[in-house]
């Protein structure tokens, strides 16, 4: 983690040969409470994947490479119910299409060789991207700190779920599925600093809700990005 954060930039503190980014620590700290929920959902993904006949290694590889809860649950659910392989893959790709937009918003924050930027971009998941927002931009240190924290939690949970099952049962029994939207709501409130951002939020929410019954899962959130485009037409009034 320290090595990931050695890039010179604002907020970097040198301690001997290592530079530890205060931003990365701040990101990790912001992500810590949600990482608990991520670990338990990782475990329930592991259990579901095992039940779906995915074996032991494939679900673990999936958590490492795909690292996106909704898409992984979609694949395991479709395979578990005996659905078509192509349907499972298509559903997961649609669910992850929003990462085209998220990846573009992350792009200006990343530096260095292509391989490194590609690797760092993988740490952008909804939650790490959300806590990395600073003044309308993505802050790299926070993104990596939060992303690594969530990655460790998600991987540990998956391994535990695949190997041992989930001793704790369904995370929904503990209301943990309500923690994710509550996190997004809390981070959203901090974003509403003007007429344009409030318009973008309102349109994004309305578009997502209106399209949910009409198009396959995943696409409503992709379409909600249009709310940001439409909001540009509103005259900005900061508050």
């Amino acid at each position: 983690m320290a090595d990931q954060a050695t890039q010179p930039q604002g907020g970097v503190r040198m301690t001997g040969r290592r530079a530890i980014s205060g931003d990365a620590i701040a990101g990790a700290r912001s992500a810590a409470p949600i990482a608990i929920a991520a670990a338990l959902f990782g475990a329930s993904f592991g259990v579901l994947a095992r039940d779906a006949g995915m074996g032991i290694v494939p679900p673990i590889v999936m958590s490492l490479t795909t690292f996106a809860g909704s898409a992984q649950f979609a694949v395991a659910s479709v395979l578990e119910s005996g659905g078509a392989l192509t349907a499972a893959i298509l559903a997961a790709v649609l669910l992850n299409l929003r990462y085209l937009a998220i990846g573009m918003s992350v792009a200006p924050a990343l530096r260095g060789p292509a391989g490194r930027r590609l690797a760092e971009a993988q740490l952008a998941v909804d939650e790490s991207w959300a806590v990395a927002q600073r003044d309308g931009r993505v802050e790299r240190g926070r993104l990596l700190g939060a992303g690594l924290t969530l990655m460790v939690a998600w991987m540990s949970g998956t391994v535990a779920g695949v190997l041992g099952g989930s001793a704790l049962g369904d995370p929904a029994d503990y209301g943990l599925d309500a923690m994710f939207p509550a996190l997004f709501l809390a981070l959203l409130v901090g974003q509403l600093d003007g007429r344009r951002s409030r318009t973008a939020a309102l349109l994004g929410g309305v578009i997502a809700l209106a399209l949910t019954p009409l198009v396959p899962p995943g696409l409503p959130i992709v379409a909600a990005a249009l709310g940001a485009v439409f909001a540009l037409t509103v005259r900005e009034v900061r508050r």
Partner: protein, 104 residues
């Protein structure tokens, strides 16, 4: 190759490409001006969509269940300027309570 491996490798490769496209395409040059103007507004738009989707969507159905109770309670303590940890705990606690009482 098993179906599981095909799904894992296909979805993994697609996701890595989707997440990395932004940084690979816009390497060492700024985002086009129109795109850059939209980016600060992307967070509020997508965050609102994630709130709505993860509170009220179940596949293609719009549902009212225990998650809505949890998120509504979180909104109340958020308005009272509670710290994030409290907001998250209230969301989970109220949703769990609503479920224990029989909400879906």
């Amino acid at each position: 190759m098993t179906a599981a491996w095909i799904a894992v490798l296909a979805v993994g490769a697609a996701t890595i490409a989707i997440k990395g496209a932004g940084t690979l395409v816009f390497a060492d040059r700024p985002l086009p001006r129109g795109v850059a103007a939209v980016m600060p507004l992307l967070a509020p738009a997508l965050l609102a969509a994630l709130v709505v989707g993860q509170t009220a969507a179940d596949g293609r159905a719009v549902v009212v269940d225990a998650r809505l109770a949890g998120v509504a309670a979180a909104a109340v303590v958020l308005a009272a300027r509670a710290p994030l940890l409290v907001v998250l705990a209230v969301a989970a606690g109220v949703a769990a309570g609503a479920r224990a009482l029989g909400a879906a």
